[in-house]
């Protein structure tokens, strides 16, 4: 009995000592939840984990006594698998912050869990603008891009250039639906007309049936509301079926540099689309990208999703460093992150709005002709820039409850 009591006392003392140590708790655990094996793994995947690793190294927090752990997992583009991993990460492994989380279906599911458990998500990979609209959360920051911004920039530019009739080829899940909805709204508002839509299952390999339907519609613009491997296959097969040769124009609503690289300039030339990061924008982006590509297995340049992981973590590290410790209250950290302006080498100066939307400029690029490209990965010409405060959905249109009107 005596032994039991002394053991109990000892245990209590330990617990107290541990909670005393919590006052200066300088432990962080970062979880990169991404597609490591499927159709989006080139634009996120291992590159996102590398970007997080580089951010940890560059932050200099280790020298200040912080202990930062990094874990990564493959969600296989399945919301159920993603939430299982996320739940385990939060409950068992004590992960503080989720990075990347590409795929809108996955992101919306994890978004709810992160809110429920008061963790943090800096989403750099998913596109759905719902993350900062109706589904917004005090624990989530949407960092890189969203469907509203893509629609606004690319959609408006194409309608202005005369593309006033549209046919959509849409990936049949949350992301495709959001991108189609947001683009259709911009097209209609700018005076264009939507002629039709066809929805294909995610990760299809043959698009000829869908392309024939788009061709038969005689729409001037075939809008591709899909991403990754789906988009590259659509573009490749569209050229086979003479879509562009027949006078219709392809609009890549969401394209990444890894897609252009995979298509090759011969097929991709002339496509115009919007991104918020390109490795060859300025000296800072070039320096980072060079370091990044040297550490990538296939020597790839960073996509905007991967660059966003780095940029988001840099701002997160600055915030927790200023707090001095105890970075485990998700809402509190995110509030502090929103209060401070952002500044990092990749996305420049920016801000985070009350709804969790990170603001920075959006760039309209056009893919170079093979003759214009000076070397590997030299793919884009900048043809227009939308400033950060105009690129995204205005707060006045927001349905997010966090926005005070």
């Amino acid at each position: 009995m005596k032994q039991k009591i002394s053991a109990l006392l000892f245990g209590t003392a330990l617990t107290l000592a541990a909670s005393g140590a919590l006052a200066q708790d300088k432990n962080i655990k970062i979880g990169v939840l991404t597609d490591n094996s499927g159709l989006y793994s080139d634009l996120g995947g291992a590159g996102s984990t590398l970007a997080a690793q580089m951010a940890i190294e560059d932050s200099g927090l280790a020298a200040k006594g912080w202990k930062i752990d990094l874990v990564s997992a493959d969600h296989q583009n399945k919301p159920d698998i993603a939430t299982t991993i996320a739940r385990q990460w939060i409950d068992v492994e004590k992960v503080d912050i989720f990075m990347d989380v590409l795929n809108s279906g996955v992101a919306l599911a994890v978004n709810n869990l992160v809110k429920e458990k008061n963790a943090i998500m800096i989403n750099t990979g998913a596109a759905s603008s719902d993350l900062t609209n109706a589904q917004c959360s005090p624990n989530t920051i949407h960092w890189v891009y969203d469907t509203y911004m893509l629609a606004n920039s690319t959609g408006q530019a194409l309608v202005k250039a005369g593309g006033d009739t549209w046919y959509f080829l849409t990936a049949d899940y949350a992301f495709g639906h959001a991108l189609e909805r947001d683009t259709a709204a911009v097209v209609t508002k700018s005076g264009g007309k939507i002629i039709g839509t066809v929805r294909h299952p995610l990760n299809s390999s043959d698009f000829s049936s869908f392309l024939l339907q788009a061709q038969a519609s005689k729409a001037k613009i075939v809008g591709m509301a899909n991403a990754g491997g789906d988009t590259t296959n659509t573009i490749k097969q569209a050229s086979e079926f003479g879509i562009v040769a027949g006078g219709q124009k392809l609009a890549g609503l969401l394209l990444f540099i890894t897609d252009v690289h995979s298509l090759g300039l011969k097929v991709a030339q002339g496509l115009s689309f919007t991104e918020t990061f390109y490795w060859d924008l300025n000296d800072d982006t070039r320096a980072f990208s060079k370091r990044f590509s040297e550490r990538m297995k296939n020597k790839a340049m960073p996509s905007m999703v991967q660059a966003g992981v780095y940029s988001g973590l840099i701002h997160y590290f600055k915030t927790v460093d200023a707090m001095g410790g105890n970075p485990h209250d998700g809402i509190k950290v995110v509030e502090k992150m929103k209060a401070a302006p952002t500044d990092d080498p990749l996305f420049g100066k920016g801000t985070i709005r009350a709804d969790g939307r990170k603001l920075h400029p959006a760039y309209l690029f056009e893919v170079k002709k093979p003759a214009e490209s000076k070397g590997p990965w030299d793919y884009y010409k900048l043809i227009g820039t939308t400033p950060g405060d105009q690129a995204f959905r205005p707060l006045s249109e927001s349905a997010c409850p966090l926005v005070k009107k």
Binding site: S37, Y40, S41, H200, D206, Q213, T232, G242, T258, G264
Partner: protein, 287 residues
């Protein structure tokens, strides 16, 4: 109505890939009794082989149509000699698990080095462009795929069902000991048959390289559908898998037109229906 014709033709094109792949599976299952889950990975290797031939050795599409199936076929024969042959006589499950594991390893290795987005492979100059059929614009390359795979399918059927070599082969699966007594080297014949089935997969890979991106996962996406085709056609039936391959392509094409959201599932719905009504498949005989 015009759109319908177009969809039928497009379905036929996809059907030719299903037919080529399921034919290889049927040959392997019929003769070796192995459920070859590595088929998708071998199809992918065929496409990559064509890519390497072009980019490393400057060898174009036409020679690749012959070289790639031979190279991948030899790889398959090595697999058979070193691993698969030890499984003969065991439950089907062992072969399935082994080949599935091989597929995962092969795909993992390729993905590690080449990523998931894939590599470009251009259509050969002779087959570029297309013709206007009135109801649709048919890319010449797609037309070529249908004609060529139909010829290959029928040739394989003829080889196995109508020639002496094929007769020996079929006899060897029925009763290997007796066939050996006639002085025929049965193990070698089995190895060559596996090589033939694998070569067919690689051939389909080369054919699809200019249409799809050459991607490490291109086979993984396709293999499940192809297995459904084999099951519907009747396991191991050569003609059954050819006919089912083409007709399922057409049915899938029609689904893409009438109800695109279901185009990924229609094949499996059919599979369930066929299994409920006729568990041996459309052309299969009860064992």
């Amino acid at each position: 109505m015009q759109a319908l014709y177009a969809q039928l033709l497009v379905g036929l094109i996809n059907g030719s890939f299903y037919a080529l792949l399921s034919l290889g599976l049927a040959v392997i299952f019929g003769m070796l009794n192995i459920i070859n889950f590595a088929h998708g990975a071998l199809y992918m290797m065929g496409a990559f082989c064509a890519y390497f031939l072009l980019n490393l050795a400057g060898i174009g599409y036409w020679p690749a149509l012959i070289i790639a199936p031979i190279v991948v076929g030899i790889f398959g024969m090595i697999l058979e000699r070193t691993m698969l042959q030890w499984l003969s006589g065991l439950d089907h499950l062992y072969g399935l698990l082994l080949t599935f594991g091989i597929a995962l390893i092969v795909q993992g290795v390729f993905q590690n080095y080449f990523g998931s987005s894939g590599l470009p492979y251009a259509i050969p100059d002779e087959l570029k462009g297309g013709m206007n059929l009135g109801f649709m614009f048919l890319p010449i390359y797609r037309g070529w795929v249908v004609v060529f795979s139909l010829i290959v399918c029928l040739a394989t059927w003829y080889l196995i069902e109508k020639t002496r070599l094929g007769a020996n082969l079929r006899a060897a699966t029925e009763n290997p000991t007796l066939v050996r007594a006639f002085g025929i080297n049965v193990p070698r014949m089995i190895t060559l048959t596996y090589g033939l089935g694998v070569g067919l997969a690689a051939l389909a890979g080369v054919l699809s390289a200019p249409i799809n991106q050459v991607r490490p996962l291109m086979g993984a996406d396709l293999i499940i559908v192809v297995f459904a085709v084999v099951v519907i056609g009747g396991m191991g039936s050569i003609m059954g898998s050819i006919i089912t391959g083409f007709s399922l392509g057409v049915i899938e094409g029609l689904t893409k037109y009438f109800y695109p959201e279901a185009s990924n599932t229609v094949v499996f719905v059919l599979m369930v229906l066929v299994l409920l009504v006729k568990p041996t498949g459309l052309t299969g005989r009860a064992a």
